[in-house]
Amino acid sequence: MTNAQLAGRANEPLLEVDDLRTYFDTPRGIVKAVDGVSLRVDRGKTLGVVGESGSGKTVLSRSIMNLLPKTNTIREGSVRFEGRELTTMKNKEMRTIWGAEMAMVLQDPMTSLNPVTKIGEQITESLGIHLNEKGKVAKAHAVELLKSVGIPAAERRLGEYPHQLSGGMRQRVTIAIALACSPKLLVADEPTTALDVTVQRQILDLLESQQTQRNMGLIIITHDLGVVAGRADEIAVMYAGRIVERAPTRELFARNRHPYTEGLLRSIPRLHQPSHSRLQAIPGRPPDLVDPPAGCPFAPRCNYAQDKCLTETPVLAPHAAGHEAACHFPVGTTAGQEALARNVAAGRTAAGTPLDSTVLATAGAA
C-alpha cells in the first residue's frame, strides 16, 4: 500500500451515517423514531449521543447496528461502515461484522447476560465464531479479556453465573464480551445508567482506556451530559428523532446554541451552587413521534419560541468549525437574545408556554 492509499484509508471515516430515517408502522400510525440523522465517527474517536428518553437515541443505535426487525420497520438513508453499506446487508452478512468488527454494550448488565449460562461460555462463544478459537486457547483468551477489564480472580469467574457477580462486575463482563474480537467500533447504549454512581466512573474510565489502547471508534449513548462531558470528542444532542446540535465537546459546553442543549446543561446539578438550589428542569415532555406537530419539535418547551418556530422546521446550520445547530433563534446570538427578551416581556412564548420565574430571574441577571 502506498502512503497516499494509507492516508486515504486513515481519512475515510469508520462509520458514516447519512440522513438515516427509521420509522415504525404501528396501529397508531407511523412513529418517526429516527428522522434524518447524519453523523460520523472516526477511528479512535468518541461520539456522545445525548438525549432524554423517547428522543430516539436507542432506536438510532439499533438502526446503525442493523438490529431492528424487518417487519413494520421503514428504514431509509445510509449507514456506511468502512465504506460498506450496512442498510442493505442481510443478517447473514451482518453476522460476520457483528461481534467481529462492530460490538455493543447494553444498558442493563442484569439482563444483557444470559442468566443460565456460565460467564466463560458467554465470552468464548464469539471467540469460537469469529476467531475459530476453541477449548484451552479460547479459555486462556477469555481469562486475558476478563483481566483486561479489571476483573479479579478471572479464572474462577469463568465458571460462575452472572447472578454471582455485582452489577459493576457484570458490566465489565459485557464489555469483555464486546471487546473479545477487537471490534473497530463499539456502541455503548447507556452503559452506566443501571449502575451505582461510584461504579459509573470506573466503567467509563474502562471504556476510555480500552478505546485508546485499541484505537477503536466509540459511540456512547446517554441521557446524561455529565457522562460524556470529559470523554467524548464530539457530542450530538438528539431531540424527537433528530440531531438538534452537534459540536466538539469543549465548544458545546462553552458556546451551546440550541435552547434544548442549554436546558440540558442547566439541569446538571452544580457543586458550586448553594445546597437546596432548585434544579432547573426542562418543562414538559418530548413530543409524540406519531404525527409530530409542524415547526420545531422543541418549540412547545422552548423559552425562545417565536411564531416562526411553530411553522418552519429549523435545519442544522453551521455556527463554527464542526458546530451545527438546528434553531431559528440560537442561544448566545443577537436573534436569540431578542427572542428571549420578547418572550420575557410578554410573559409567555409564542407557543403559549408561560415563562418560568427562574428563567425570568436568570434572563434578568444576564
Binding site: R95, G99, M102
Partner: protein, 319 residues
C-alpha cells in the same frame, strides 16, 4: 444441599397423600364384606367373620397404621376378589402405563419443542397462525375422540397398527412398540398442543430479552440463539406443566387403557373400583399419587439445573 432441604416436605406430602387415599376408600358407603361374599352367601355370621378377618371393625387410625406399615414393606394386602397380592398386580401393570405415558410425553415434547420454537420465531406470521389455530383445535378434542379417530385411520383404514391389545416388551419389542403407539399418540396430542402454546409464549418473551440482542450482536446464528440461548430460559412453564401433566396422563390412561384394552394400572383401578376391591383401589391410588408427587419433586430439582439462580437464591435466602 437443595435436594436434602426439600426432603422433609416431600415426606410430609407423601404422608398426607397416603392418609387421604386411605380415608377416601374407607369412608365410601357399602360393606366390602358383602361384596366379597356375594348377596346369597351374606349371612350375618359370614359377614362378621369376613370383617374380623380383614380387621374391618378396628378403628380407622389403627387400620391406617396397619395398612401403611405393611405398604412400606411393599405389602399392600391381597385383592378381595382374586386373592392376588395387590403389589404383584401393580408391578405387572405399572410398566404398561409407564411405557405409554413416557412415550406420550416424549412424542409430545419431540413435536412441541421445535414447533413451539418455530411459532415464536415467526410470531405473527402465517406459519405462527396456522400452528396456533391447529393447537387450539387439538386442545378442544377430548382424548377418547382422538383415540377413536386414530383407531379408525391407522387400524381400520390403513391397517398398519393394532386397534387393541398388548404385547409385552420382553415377548416382542417391535410388536410391543406397535401396540403402545396408538394409546400413546392419543394421550400425546392434547399434551403436544399445550406444550406448543406454552413454549411459544415464553419463547416470544425470551427473544425480546437483552441477552438475545447481545447474542445477535456477537454474531451468533439464529439457530444457535434459539437452541442455545433462548430454549433453556423459556422452558420453565413447559417443565412445570409437563410435570403436572404426568398426573393427567395417568388419570387419562384410565380411559385410554380401557379403550385400547391395554392391561395398565388405569384399567386395573377402574376394574377394582367397579367391584369394590378396596385394598386394590387403595394400593393403586397410592402408587399413582406417589409417582405424581415424586415426578413433581424431580421437576423441582430440574429447575435448579435449568436456572442456576434457584438453588443459589434459596440458599442465600436461608442463611
Amino acid at each position: 444441599m437443595y435436594v436434602l432441604r426439600r426432603l422433609p416436605s416431600l415426606i410430609a406430602t407423601l404422608l398426607a397423600v397416603s392418609i387421604l387415599t386411605f380415608l377416601m376408600t374407607s369412608l365410601l358407603p357399602g360393606d366390602p364384606a358383602l361384596q366379597i361374599l356375594g348377596a346369597e352367601n351374606a349371612t350375618p355370621e359370614a359377614i362378621a367373620a369376613v370383617r374380623s378377618e380383614l380387621s374391618l371393625d378396628d378403628p380407622l387410625p389403627v387400620r391406617y397404621l396397619h395398612w401403611i406399615g405393611d405398604a412400606l414393606t411393599g405389602d399392600f394386602g391381597r385383592s378381595y376378589r382374586t386373592n392376588e397380592p395387590v403389589s404383584q398386580a401393580i408391578i405387572e401393570r405399572l410398566p404398561v402405563t409407564a411405557e405409554i405415558g413416557l412415550l406420550a410425553i416424549v412424542i409430545a415434547l419431540a413435536i412441541a419443542i421445535p414447533v413451539g420454537m418455530l411459532s415464536a420465531y415467526r410470531a405473527g406470521t402465517r406459519t405462527d397462525k396456522v400452528i396456533s389455530s391447529t393447537s387450539f383445535g387439538l386442545l378442544a378434542v377430548p382424548n377418547f375422540m382422538v383415540a377413536i379417530l386414530l383407531i379408525l385411520v391407522f387400524a381400520v383404514w390403513l391397517g398398519v397398527l393394532p386397534a387393541t391389545g398388548w404385547v409385552n416388551f420382553t415377548d416382542n419389542p417391535v410388536q410391543n412398540l406397535r401396540s403402545a403407539l396408538l394409546p400413546a399418540l392419543s394421550l400425546a396430542i392434547a399434551e403436544m398442543a399445550v406444550y406448543t402454546r406454552l413454549l411459544r409464549t415464553d419463547m416470544i418473551a425470551t427473544l425480546q430479552q437483552d441477552f438475545v440482542t447481545m447474542a445477535r450482536v456477537k454474531g451468533v446464528s439464529n439457530r444457535r440463539i434459539l437452541f442455545r440461548h433462548a430454549l433453556r430460559p423459556s422452558s420453565f412453564s413447559l417443565l412445570t406443566v409437563a410435570g403436572v401433566q404426568v398426573g393427567a396422563i395417568i388419570g387419562g390412561s384410565v380411559v385410554i387403557e380401557t379403550l385400547f384394552a391395554v392391561p395398565g394400572v388405569g384399567r386395573l383401578l377402574l376394574e377394582a373400583v367397579l367391584v369394590r376391591d378396596l385394598l386394590m383401589v387403595q394400593g393403586v391410588a397410592l402408587v399413582i399419587a406417589v409417582s405424581y408427587v415424586v415426578v413433581n419433586f424431580t421437576v423441582d430439582i430440574l429447575y435448579s439445573y435449568l436456572d442456576p439462580r434457584i438453588s443459589h437464591g434459596r440458599s442465600s435466602a436461608r442463611v
